[in-house]
Symmetry: C2
Subunit: 512 residues, 2 copies
C-alpha cells in the first residue's frame, strides 16, 4: 500500500486521520472563485478590433433616452448630447472610466463565508432570470410561479455547494401589487439563503422601502453599507443603444442606498442586437460602458458588475434560444472582454431551451456553463434551473444543476503541473519492482479527496448495480432531495425579533 515515496512527512495513520476529517475549504477540489481563463475564444488582435468598434459606436452612435438626471450626470462627466437627443461618448471619457472604475469588487453574503471575490478570472455560478412559470416535472406542466416557489428556490440554493449566489430566478405572480411584489421578492430571497442575493425593482420609488428592509435585516444602516449582501440587477438599457429611462432612475436610487449594481444589457442577437456574434458583443460592450460612465458619474468607484448578457435568437422564428452554441460563445466572448477591460463581469449561461430536465437540458446547460467557467466569467448568471429559454424555472433541475456545475467547476480548476503531479517517480515505483498499478499508492489515496469530484445525485453504478438498486431515476432522486431540504427548518431565517420588525413595517405574504 505504501510503495510510492512521498516527500510529505507522515505515514498511513496520518493520512487516515486526515481523510476522516472534513477537508478545509482550501483543500476541497472545487469551491467558489476557482480561476478560469484557459479558454480564449478571441485573440488579442480580435479584442483590440472589438474595442475599437465599441469606441466608434459610443462616439458616433451613442445612446438615446437617458432621463434628465442621467443627461445631467453624463454630460457633466463629458458625454455630448446631440441635436437628436442621443448622448455620445468621446473615447477619452470611456478610457478614463475604465481606468478609474472599481475593479476590486466583493459581493457579500449575509454570512461572510459566502462572500464572492470578483477579481481576476474567478468564477461563481448562480441563479437569475425572471421566469413566469414553475416547471412541475412529474405532471410535465408549467404553472404560474409564486412567492413560495421563489422562497423554496432560495432555501434550496442555500443548501447547494456549487450554487454560489441567488439572483431572483422567477417572478412572484401571486402578488399583483408591484411594490409588494418587489418587497416580498427581497424578503423571500433573503429569508431563504445567506448567500448573496440579486433583485430588481419595478419603480424607483420602491427602492427606499427595500433599503429600509435591508437595514432591518442587517441590523442597521452602517452594517448594511459595510457589507451590502443584495445587489440590484438593473436592465438600464433597452438594446439597441437606448437607456431604459425608469431603470436608470432605479439605478440612481440603488447607488445612493449603497447597493452594488449589475449593469445588465440583454440584447438578443438577430432581434435587438446584430446577428453576428462579434456584433452582439460590440453592442453589449458599448451599452455597458455607457452604463459604467453613468454609475461613476453618480458616485465614483461605486461597485458595478459589467453585465453584458447578449442573448441569441433562433433566426427561423425570432424566438430566443438560450441553449444554443451561439449563446455559449457569446457569453464566453463577453467574459474575455471583461478581462480585456479588467472589470468584474457577469453574463448568462446554463439556460436550457428544453422544457424539462431531459438530455437536451443537460447538454444545453453543460456546454454554456463549462465554457463560461473556462473563459473565467466572474458571475455566471442563470446557471441552474432555467428552462424554455428563461420562461420556466424547475427546482429539480436546480438541484441537478449543482452536480452539473460541480463538474464545470472541476474543469475550470484545470490541470496542475508540478513535480508531484507529473508522477515520474510514481510511475517508476509502479512499474519497476512495484505492483504494476496505482490502486493503493499513497499518491492515489492522497489525491482521492483533493483532486476528484464526486457527484451527489448523478450515478456511476455499473448496469448490474443499477439494476439491483431498482434502476434509480435521476429526476426521482432530485425530487427526494428537494422534499428533504424543504422539510427541514431553513437555516437562513431571520431571528424572531427582526422578522417581527419587518412584518410590522411591510406586508409580507410568506407565513411567519
Amino acid at each position: 500500500m505504501t510503495q510510492t515515496k512521498t516527500r510529505r512527512a507522515g505515514g498511513r495513520e496520518a493520512r487516515r486521520t486526515a481523510r476522516a476529517n472534513p477537508l478545509s475549504d482550501a483543500l476541497r477540489p472545487i469551491r467558489p472563485g476557482l480561476e478560469g481563463g484557459t479558454y480564449r475564444p478571441l485573440s488579442e488582435a480580435q479584442m483590440q478590433r472589438i474595442h475599437a468598434a465599441v469606441l466608434d459606436a459610443l462616439e458616433q452612435i451613442g445612446l438615446a433616452d437617458a432621463p434628465p438626471s442621467g443627461v445631467a450626470y453624463l454630460t457633466g462627466a463629458g458625454a455630448i448630447q446631440g441635436e437628436d437627443g442621443r448622448l455620445r461618448f468621446p473615447r477619452a471619457l470611456i478610457e478614463d472610466t475604465i481606468a478609474r472604475a472599481n475593479r476590486s469588487l466583493t459581493l457579500h453574503g449575509r454570512e461572510a463565508r459566502h462572500d464572492l471575490d470578483l477579481s481576476g478570472h474567478r468564477v461563481h455560478y448562480g441563479t437569475a432570470g425572471a421566469a413566469v412559470s414553475v416547471v412541475e416535472v412529474h405532471s410535465r406542466t408549467y404553472r404560474d410561479s409564486t412567492l413560495q416557489d421563489l422562497h423554496d428556490a432560495a432555501r434550496i440554493v442555500d443548501q447547494l455547494d456549487n450554487i454560489h449566489f441567488l439572483q431572483r430566478p422567477m417572478v412572484c405572480r401571486d402578488i399583483t401589487d408591484n411594490r409588494e411584489m418587489d418587497l416580498n421578492t427581497l424578503y423571500g430571497c433573503c429569508a431563504g439563503t445567506t448567500k448573496h442575493v440579486g433583485v430588481s425593482f419595478t419603480e424607483p420609488g420602491f427602492v427606499r422601502d427595500a433599503i429600509e428592509m435591508l437595514h432591518l435585516i442587517a441590523g442597521g444602516e452602517d452594517k448594511w453599507r459595510d457589507r451590502p449582501f443584495v445587489s440590484n440587477s438593473n436592465c438600464f438599457v433597452v438594446p439597441p443603444m437606448k437607456f431604459a429611462t425608469e431603470s436608470c432612475l432605479v439605478m440612481e436610487e440603488c447607488i445612493r442606498g449603497g447597493m452594488p449594481v449589475l449593469l445588465l444589457s440583454a440584447g438578443q442577437a438577430g432581434a435587438t442586437a446584430p446577428a453576428p456574434i462579434a456584433g452582439a458583443i460590440v453592442q453589449a460592450m458599448a451599452e455597458c460602458l455607457a452604463g459604467l460612465v453613468y454609475v461613476n458619474a453618480v458616485k465614483p468607484g461605486h461597485p458595478a458588475i459589467f453585465g453584458t448578457w447578449p442573448f441569441v435568437s433562433d433566426l427561423r422564428t425570432g424566438a430566443m434560444s438560450g441553449g444554443s452554441g451561439e449563446q455559449a460563445l457569446l457569453s464566453a466572448g463577453c467574459a474575455q472582454m471583461h478581462k480585456f477591460y479588467g472589470l468584474p463581469g457577469g453574463a448568462a449561461a446554463g439556460i436550457a431551451d428544453a422544457k424539462l430536465p431531459d438530455m437536451q437540458a443537460g447538454w444545453e446547460q453543460a456546454m454554456s456553463n463549462v465554457m463560461a467557467g473556462l473563459s473565467g466569467l466572474n458571475m455566471v448568471y442563470e446557471a441552474a434551473g432555467m428552462h424554455a429559454s428563461l420562461l420556466g424555472f424547475c427546482l429539480e433541475s436546480l438541484i441537478l444543476g449543482d452536480d452539473l456545475i460541480g463538474q464545470a467547476l472541476r474543469c475550470t480548476r484545470g490541470i496542475e503541473v508540478d513535480e508531484d503531479t507529473l508522477s515520474v517517480d510514481v510511475i517508476r515505483a509502479a512499474c519497476i519492482g512495484g505492483p504494476g498499478h496505482y490502486l493503493g499508492s499513497a499518491q492515489t489515496l492522497g489525491r482521492m479527496q483533493t483532486d476528484y469530484v464526486y457527484p451527489s445525485l448523478a450515478n456511476r453504478f455499473s448496469p448490474k448495480e443499477w439494476d439491483e438498486l431498482g434502476k434509480p431515476d435521476l429526476i426521482e432522486k432530485a425530487t427526494e432531495k428537494k422534499m428533504k431540504i424543504l422539510s427541514e427548518r431553513a437555516a437562513a431565517r431571520f431571528d424572531p425579533i427582526t422578522d417581527r420588525a419587518i412584518r410590522e413595517r411591510f406586508r409580507i405574504h410568506l407565513p411567519a
Copy 2:
C-alpha cells in the same frame, strides 16, 4: 426589410434564391474538420515540463513485454533493452521519431466526401468503444449487443451529419468464433456506412483475411492501398508501460497491409495510470511515443494516429468514470500535447456514466465533447451513444448525439471578427433613422443559414407551443428517427457482385 447597407452586390431576390438552394459545404455553419485550439488547459511552460517528464519516463523506465519482432524493430531503431527486458528510449530517438513521423494524415472514407484531414487543430467526432450491451430505452434494459445492432449503428452514423466516422462502438456477442466476429464486425460496419471505419482484431492471424475482404470491397489491392478507408484501433500497450504482445503483432500485420493504425493507450488514472491528471498524461504520451517509434521502425512514415486515451477512475470504487470532469480535462490536455508534438491525435470524449439518455447523460457527453472540440482534438472517439462508462451503446442516444455534437461544433467554430461581423454600420443603421431592431436586416437574413445551427430533434418551442404539440418527448423523437433510418434501404450497401464475392469467401452472418 432592406434598411441596412451591405457591401455585397445583389438584392433581396438574389438572397432569396441563394437561401432556396442548399448551402455548399464551405458555407455550412458546421462541418467536419472545423479548427479548434482556443482552449488551452496547459501553458507552454507546463507542456515543456510534461515533455521533459515523458522523456525521463521513456529513457529511465521504458516499456516491457515487446514481442521478439518488436524488440528487433525497436533496438534496430535505437532503443536499448536492459537486463530486466525493458526497452528504454534515448531522448534523441524520441525527438527524431517525432520529427520524422507522418503528420499530414488523411483518414479516407469509402466515399471521398467523407475524407478526414487530421492536420492542425481540425476536429472530427465519431463513435468508438467495445460496449457489450445495447441500451433499450423504452424497457430501460441492457441486453447483449449483436452484429445486427452494430450494423444498425453503422447505418445510423451514415445518416448523421455530425458523426464523422464510425469506429466499432460495440461487440458482436452473438458470434462466438473470434475470427468470424472480427470479419463480420468489419463487414457490418462497412456495409452500413461509407464514412471512415475503425476496427480491431483479436489475433494477428485474422488481419490477412480482413485485408482480403477490404481488397474485395475496394475493387482491388491498389485501390485499397490508395485510399484505405478502415483503420486499426490498436491497444498496443497495457498500461503502465508494457507492450501488449499480441496487439503489437496485429499492428505489424496492419502496417504491412496498408492500414492506418490508431496507437491506443487506454490507461485509467488511479488504477493503471497515476491519479493526478498531469501524471496520467505523462504516461499516455510516453506509451504512445514508444508506439510511434515502433510504427516508424516497421515502416517509416506509416500513417498513425496518436491515441492517448487515458480514462479516469472514481477513486471511491476504482470503477471507471468516463463522464467526469477529470476525464474531460484529461482528453483536452492530451489534445494540446498532440499539437505540442505536431502529431495527428485522438482521445476519448462524450462518454456518459449515466445508464440512460437522461439529463446526466446530456451534461456528461456535452462537457467533454465541447472541451475536446475547443482544444482542437483531431479525432474525438466515443463521442456519441456511449453509456455506463462504455458498457452500453444506445441508438437513441447516438441520434441525439448528432444534435449535441452539432452544438459542440458550433462552439468549436468560434467567433469570427471582421468588419462585417463587428457590425458598427449595421448598429448605426438600426439606431439612427432605422427600425430600432435587426429582425429583417440584410445582415440578419444573410447570417441565418451560414452562422446559426438549428438542432434536428432538440426542441426550442415555447411552453405554449410545446403543450399544443402534445408535449413531444425527446426520446420518442429519437426512436422515430431511428425507425425511419432503419426502414430505408442502406445507401452504403455493397453492389451485388461485390457482396456475393465477399459472402462466397467469408461466412457473413448478416442476411444478404
